[in-house]
């Protein structure tokens, strides 16, 4: 076995090229921050313009085939791009973009003609995409779709969409397009009654309404450092007689559940090792446990708090190694959802342990002692907001299937 993540000679040569390109192309005024809720409109636009530059270079979605606008690179090089970005506090795809979940479904289920039409603008960063899946009555039971996309009675090549999606996106402004799951038949049996679409986000009859939510964050996950991984703002989207042409389908009418499962496969932890796993917050916290005089004094006054420090270290190490295992292709049929459950449950515990060590500083958002922009505040909320990407309970059902128990 070899757990080494040091660059190979070939990777090092590529890294030199990447560093040079980043020096020349990262917008000078762009200041990536982790808490996307605090990202200004101007900063968001700078992030997008940089994403487009990466897209033109083929480095925004590096592993996709060149003919579809990707970079045609192997995972080892994608890892270098992400690592060099991480040193600058960024991660692919720079700003939150559900192309990460939609493009794999297009690759798996779309026709050749659809792939050539849909993918290039997405993979080049020109068409930002939001995923519209969850509904008020379709949370964990995702197939229970109530948003109808029904064939127009006269114009048979058009669908009319009516309904409501929730927990969508996404910072303002709205993206170019939606990746949309709908119910396209009122008669067909469950799972066969669904269709997936790519539609423009500005069609008449679409209303986007921001939700007033606790920020949702991947605080506990071994993830990249940028706003790209932070989902601070979410919306409801309403459809009122929205008319779309059948050329907006992914695959064929009735393929919706197949398309959705291709997305789930990625969302629940598929793919190779595209970045070096590390938990930036735990790392920062552990450095502070050695150096910050306030924390040192608290640990001295309350020696049992050291147990919380050890808990966080153990959590971060297991998290890192399970990620590495998945990235190395050794996660089996359950490794992805297992890691999600571990991070969701573990994240809540990490937040509690950090709060124990830091006291009220953990929840406050200003002062010299802030370790990252209000990250403990976000982290504690993360311990509460466990739903994004699927609840831990839903993930356990998937793990059980992966282990071949329960059926």
């Amino acid at each position: 076995m070899d757990f080494s993540l040091d660059y190979t000679e070939e990777q090092e040569r590529f890294a030199v090229e990447v560093r040079k390109w980043l020096d020349d192309n990262v917008p000078k005024d762009f200041k990536p921050i982790r808490d996307a809720q605090k990202m200004s409109y101007e900063q968001f636009q700078l992030g997008r313009s940089f994403a487009r530059k990466l897209g033109q270079k083929g480095w925004l979605y590096p592993t996709y085939p060149r003919e579809y606008g990707g970079g045609g690179l192997e995972t080892a090089k994608t890892l270098v791009i992400n690592e060099e970005l991480a040193k600058r506090n960024m991660a692919l795809p720079i700003v939150t973009d559900w192309t990460t979940l939609c493009a794999p479904a297009i690759m798996a289920c779309a026709t050749d003609e659809q792939k050539k039409r849909y993918l290039p603008p997405m993979l080049r960063g020109e068409a930002l995409t939001w995923q519209l899946m969850t509904e008020p009555e379709a949370g964990t039971d995702e197939a229970n779709q109530q948003t109808n996309a029904l064939r127009h009675q006269r114009d048979k090549d058009h669908f009319i969409i009516n309904g409501q999606k929730i927990f969508v996106g996404g910072l303002w402004p709205p993206p170019e397009q939606f990746y949309l799951l709908t119910r396209s038949s009122l008669e067909a049996p469950r799972h066969q009654n669904l269709s997936s679409f790519i539609i423009p986000a500005n069609l008449p009859g679409i209303t986007i309404q921001p939700l007033d939510l606790f920020p949702l964050s991947t605080f506990a996950a071994v993830s990249g450092p940028s706003g790209a991984t932070s989902e601070a703002v979410k919306n409801s989207v309403f459809f009122d007689n929205v008319r779309v042409h059948e050329s907006c389908l992914i695959g064929n009418e009735g393929d919706g559940w197949k398309v959705t499962n291709a997305t789930f496969a990625v969302e629940h932890g598929g793919g190779g090792l595209a970045r070096i796993p590390r938990n930036y917050i735990a790392d920062k916290f552990l450095v502070q446990c050695k150096n910050n005089p306030v924390i040192s004094r608290r640990l001295k006054d309350n020696p049992h708090l050291i147990d919380s420090v050890v808990n966080i270290y153990i959590y971060a190490e297991v998290d890192r190694l399970l990620s590495l295992r998945n990235g190395a292709g050794k996660g089996g049929a359950y490794g992805g959802p297992q890691l999600m459950v571990f991070e969701k449950h573990g994240g809540a515990q990490v937040a509690a342990d950090m709060a124990a060590v830091l006291g009220p500083y953990a929840f406050a958002d200003e002062g010299d002692w802030v370790l990252d922009e209000g990250i403990f505040e976000v982290g504690e909320r993360c311990g509460i907001c466990q739903a994004p990407g699927g609840t831990p309970e839903a993930m356990k059902i998937i793990i059980s299937r992966g282990l071949s128990i329960g059926r």
Partner: protein, 380 residues
């Protein structure tokens, strides 16, 4: 990035050979009898493991062993743990040989490592005492230097594999120092020496746990491993290398229990359906699997760090804390998945129960290693 988490071809071979050996030599009823003995081994079985080269797996070839990496030893012990195969395989072949290698003089290494590899010497560590601790402070056993010999006195408690062993590696105080980690020496004591007596510790530990009394035990000067007074740091060095191999044994045990539980949940029918359909049963199995996976990858990364000479101090403590907790929890959960049937001493799950408790403390329980980790993580 050379990341590769697969076993090498030779490690795969080693694993297969070990699993074949266990299936052939220790079928269920044989294993049950072995687990009920106070040695965990028979002479003929020991001779066969010697033939396979297991007691010398870590001993350098120049000293008569196989000279494998710690990772390979981990692969072997993961296979042994899956049975779980009892006996002094770890005590002598891993910990014993590592202590001799770390502390012994060149001459001692030549004779003792060859003898351990050939299975003639079975060595085990006699460290902890009635004032139980893995720290040097409470150690009271003494070795007094005479003319050309030492006289050992004291009591060692929870000595693993003392009955199977031919030799005890006794940690004794040769000099009183302000720092309790100084003035300790290591002695290779032939168990037949007058004044050595053994008593099995009664209770729920494996039958391989003993009290060893040393009463005016006179050993020749050559029994002192290396130099006098400086034994503790060398012992710690050996224990640090041995710990992840022991963890691999627990990983193998956990993995086997997970597989048993998954299989049982498919075939055991209650209320007209396999119990694996019940989400509370699924929850228990998922917990078992995650404990196992956490222990597995921490263990193998630690072995890799030690093999490649990377700093591994934190990793060793982490591995022992996580793997000990994992084995304890996985056994407990397996009992809940199997419920009634697994309380039978005939049942494979019950083969693990006492071992998971004994190995929880052996070479330091999680509390010990968490405390060590806490110091490393918070001390500037």
């Amino acid at each position: 990035m050379a990341l590769d988490l697969n076993l090498s071809e030779s490690e795969e071979m080693l694993k297969k050979t070990a699993l074949d050996f266990i299936r052939r030599e220790t079928p269920h009823d044989v294993l049950k009898k072995l687990l009920e003995t106070d040695t965990g081994i028979t002479d003929s079985l020991w001779a066969k493991t010697v033939e396979m080269g297991w007691p010398g797996i870590l001993v350098p070839e120049s000293y008569g062993g196989i000279g494998s990496t710690l990772t390979s030893a981990g692969v072997l012990f993961e296979a042994l743990g899956s049975a779980p195969l009892p006996g002094p395989h770890f005590s002598s072949g891993i910990l014993g040989s590592l202590i001799v290698e770390a502390a012994g003089s060149e001459e001692q290494k030549k004779s003792l490592l060859a003898a351990i590899s050939e299975g003639q010497v079975i060595a085990t560590l006699a460290l902890t005492e009635p004032d139980y601790s893995w720290e040097p402070g409470p150690l009271r056993a003494t070795a007094t230097a005479g003319s050309g010999d030492f006289v050992l006195d004291g009591t060692k408690l929870f000595v693993m594999d003392a009955q199977a062993a031919t030799h005890l590696i006794v940690v004794a105080r040769t000099r009183e120092e302000a720092d309790p980690a100084r003035g300790l020496s290591l002695f290779m004591v032939d168990k037949k020496t007058p004044g050595v007596s053994l008593r099995q510790v009664p209770g729920f530990l494996t039958g391989r746990s003993f009290e060893v009394k040393l009463q005016a035990v006179k050993v020749p000067r050559s029994a002192l491993l290396g130099e006098a007074d400086g034994g503790w740091p060398l012992l710690q060095e050996a224990i640090a290398k041995a710990i992840p191999v022991l963890c691999a044994y627990k990983v193998g045990a956990c993995q086997a229990l997970c597989e048993l539980a998954v299989e049982y949940s498919r075939v055991r029918v209650q209320f007209g359906m396999p119990i694996g359909r019940f989400q509370r049963v699924q929850d228990m199995i998922i917990q078992m699997v995650t404990h196992t996976d956490a222990a597995r990858w921490i263990t193998y990364e630690t072995l890799w760090k030690l093999d490649t000479g990377l700093p591994a101090q934190e990793s060793v403590h982490l591995a022992k804390a996580v793997a000990s907790e994992a084995y304890w929890q996985v056994v407990t959960l397996a009992h809940q998945v199997f419920s009634g049937i697994s309380y039978s001493r005939e049942h494979t799950v019950s083969f693990h129960t006492r071992g998971s408790r004994s190995l929880y403390n052996f070479l330091g329980e999680p509390a010990h290693h968490r405390q060590k980790l806490g110091k490393l993580l918070t001390r500037n």
